[in-house]
């Protein structure tokens, strides 16, 4: 991997402060953080990255209040507030 330590940025995931590599997608941030799954389906089954290129919609997260964002496409930006979703992908969150 890169010879020099990568610059990192701060984001919030489900209320917890995370330091993640700059210049990576939200899905990559979860992966690097060691958490391969982050969404739950209506049947409460765990899901994470699947197609990785915006086709399958399995990786949806809520970003700064906007639900249904494809984590595989969206770059993580400094200060992003990310909430994981449970349910249909329209922004229902784990209580």
């Amino acid at each position: 991997m890169p010879e020099h330590p990568r610059p990192r940025i701060d984001i919030t995931v489900d209320g917890v402060a995370w330091s993640v590599p700059a210049d990576c997608t939200i899905a990559a941030a979860f992966t690097e953080h060691g958490q391969p799954g982050w969404r739950r389906t209506r049947r409460a089954r765990p899901r994470g990255l699947n197609c990785g290129i915006g086709v399958c919609f399995d990786c949806l997260v809520t970003v700064n209040g906007m639900p249904g964002i494809r984590a595989c496409l969206a770059d993580a930006r400094p200060g992003d507030v990310i909430c994981t979703e449970e349910g249909s992908g329209f922004g229902e969150h784990r209580s």
Binding site: M1, T31, P36, G37, P46, F57, P67
Partner: protein, 510 residues
């Protein structure tokens, strides 16, 4: 829903351009610079945040191309693209999810509708005299027990993490499926420090030797494959052929997979099971062309490699059966980045010419550059012949339908199992559409893109269509599957954007 504002904003007027190009991968970028070189006004709409598509997906952390193939070609192309963007000849729209391409009415123009910026979701419309669809393809995945577990992903997903974000998908990775794409994925992961436990290929790559002339005609691909193989050997990665991963195990995340030996039709060889520990399974059985926009615009399709997959029918100039609508790259049949660039070149020339005549202008001083050249045509023909060999060697064989059990989820979005699919068929559903109406596969977020081919294959098997090759019933099944590819809205669209379309003067999608 909290995304709906109190008031519907007035629709913004559409941008007018010569050619709209959907997709900024190898085909779309090449078409764009070719048309712009010819003096044509071009608008490129792309889902990604940066140009390059999947093949040249990159981010600031990977801009040195160390995980890429053909990087110098891309940097040269990107410089030409950037120069046209700076000069205002190319209007580049990153982060645009195109959901509809409307055909011209009464000699009018095409209307391209997109949702711009996923974090804001605004409507964008572009009017163009000609359109090039270069939306590429995505990995074909086969449903097996446990494939919905976090850690199980497409081969392309592992590649995208690496190429785009310089993040390694996991520590112990099994790469499985069929096709030459598995090699760069495994080699990239090994290079980046992952332990690649095995590359599991379902096909028999030795079968390439049965087509020496076609392989030799595209000899440039041989050193590329050799380079990946050498790198895998250096990392002592075992390569298995005629094997497959038929189950993934774990609770909250993947911890192991079951690998079996396959017979000639990809049926499991009993007693050959073994378990490999892995935290990531990266799987792909070739690619499915993304033809939804083409299908909805009425372009003729043909069956592509793999059940339930389709590609655009194009003429010598990459024009579809709809005048003024062109397709290039994987949308015309999966053939790789070299073929995509050549098709993009031809489509860019032809679309520039079509746009010029539609706008009542001669192609002007660029006319000479817009004709066919035989060398390009020959290269395209050779690469297409090689792609046909590739399809044959790595074609998904019907025995895979014995891998999933009744509890295996087929449709990931609606969580429909093989058992529910079979129950629908037992109730009398005898085509994909009826299966869909009874059991709901393909009715979720992805609109059946991920499960569509598996549902077609499982439905065909259980309703006996496989026995009717070439018959009228078989043709019905094909038409049925073809209709399933057509979607009035090719991407999720907020209702407020549709409301905007209805209140504005823009034509609403039919």
């Amino acid at each position: 829903m909290n995304t709906v504002p109190d008031r519907i904003p007035a629709p913004s007027p559409p941008t007018r351009t010569g050619i709209a190009i959907i997709g900024a991968g190898p085909a779309g970028l090449t078409a764009a610079v070719t048309a712009a070189d010819a003096g044509c006004a071009v608008c490129v709409l792309d889902l990604g945040e940066r140009p390059g598509g999947q093949f040249w997906r990159f981010g600031p952390a990977t801009g040195d191309g160390r995980f890429h193939h053909g990087w110098p070609a891309f940097t040269a192309l990107r410089e030409r693209f950037a120069a046209h963007v700076a000069a205002g000849r190319i209007d580049y729209r990153a982060g645009h999810a195109v959901f509809h391409v409307g055909r011209p009415r009464d000699g009018g123009v095409f209307r391209v509708h997109a949702v711009a910026d996923d974090r804001r979701r605004e409507h964008a419309a572009v009017e163009a005299a000609a359109v090039v669809i270069a939306t590429g393809a995505y990995d074909r995945q086969l449903p097996v027990p446990g494939w919905t577990l976090p850690g199980v992903m497409s081969a392309g997903a592992a590649q995208a993490l690496l190429k785009g974000s310089a993040v390694v998908a996991g520590r112990r990775v099994v790469v499985a499926g069929s096709g030459p794409f598995l090699l760069p994925v495994a080699a990239g992961l090994a290079q980046a420090g992952a332990r690649v436990v095995a590359v599991v290929e379902a096909g028999q790559p030795l079968e390439y030797l049965r087509h020496p002339a076609r392989v030799a005609a595209t000899w440039r691909k041989l050193p590329e494959a050799g380079g990946y193989l050498a790198r895998l050997a250096r990392h002592r990665v075992p390569l298995l052929s005629r094997h497959a991963v038929v189950a993934a195990h774990g609770d909250e995340r993947l911890h192991s997979v079951t690998v079996v030996r396959l017979g000639p039709a990809w049926e499991r060889v009993p007693g050959s099971e073994r378990t490999l520990e892995a935290d990531v399974l990266a799987a792909g059985y070739g690619f499915v062309p993304q033809v939804e926009l083409l299908a909805e615009a009425g372009a003729g399709l043909r069956a592509a490699a793999g059940e339930g997959a389709f590609a655009a029918v194009v003429g010598p100039d990459q024009q579809t059966t709809v005048p003024g609508l062109f397709a290039a790259g994987e949308t015309t049949g999966v053939g790789g980045a070299d073929l995509a660039r050549i098709e993009g070149l031809i489509a860019g020339r032809a679309a520039a010419s079509a746009a010029a005549s539609a706008l009542g202008r001669a192609a002007g001083n660029a006319a000479g550059a817009l004709g066919h050249d035989r060398r390009t045509d020959r290269q395209r023909a050779a690469l297409r012949r090689f792609a046909a060999v590739m399809d044959r060697v790595h074609a998904v064989q019907p025995g895979w339908t014995g891998w999933p059990d009744d509890d295996t989820v087929v449709c990931r979005c609606e969580e429909v199992t093989v058992g529910r699919l079979r129950a629908a068929i037992d109730l009398g559903a005898d085509d994909v559409r009826s299966v869909k109406l009874l059991a709901r596969p393909g009715m979720g977020w992805c609109q059946g893109r991920i499960c569509g081919q598996a549902v077609a294959a499982l439905s065909a098997k259980h309703s006996g269509y496989s026995d009717h090759e070439g018959s009228a019933e078989r043709d019905d099944a094909t038409q049925d599957a073809e209709r399933a590819v057509s979607r009035p809205l090719a991407q999720p669209v907020p209702l407020r954007v549709l409301a905007e379309l209805a209140t504005g003067d823009a034509d609403s999608p039919d």
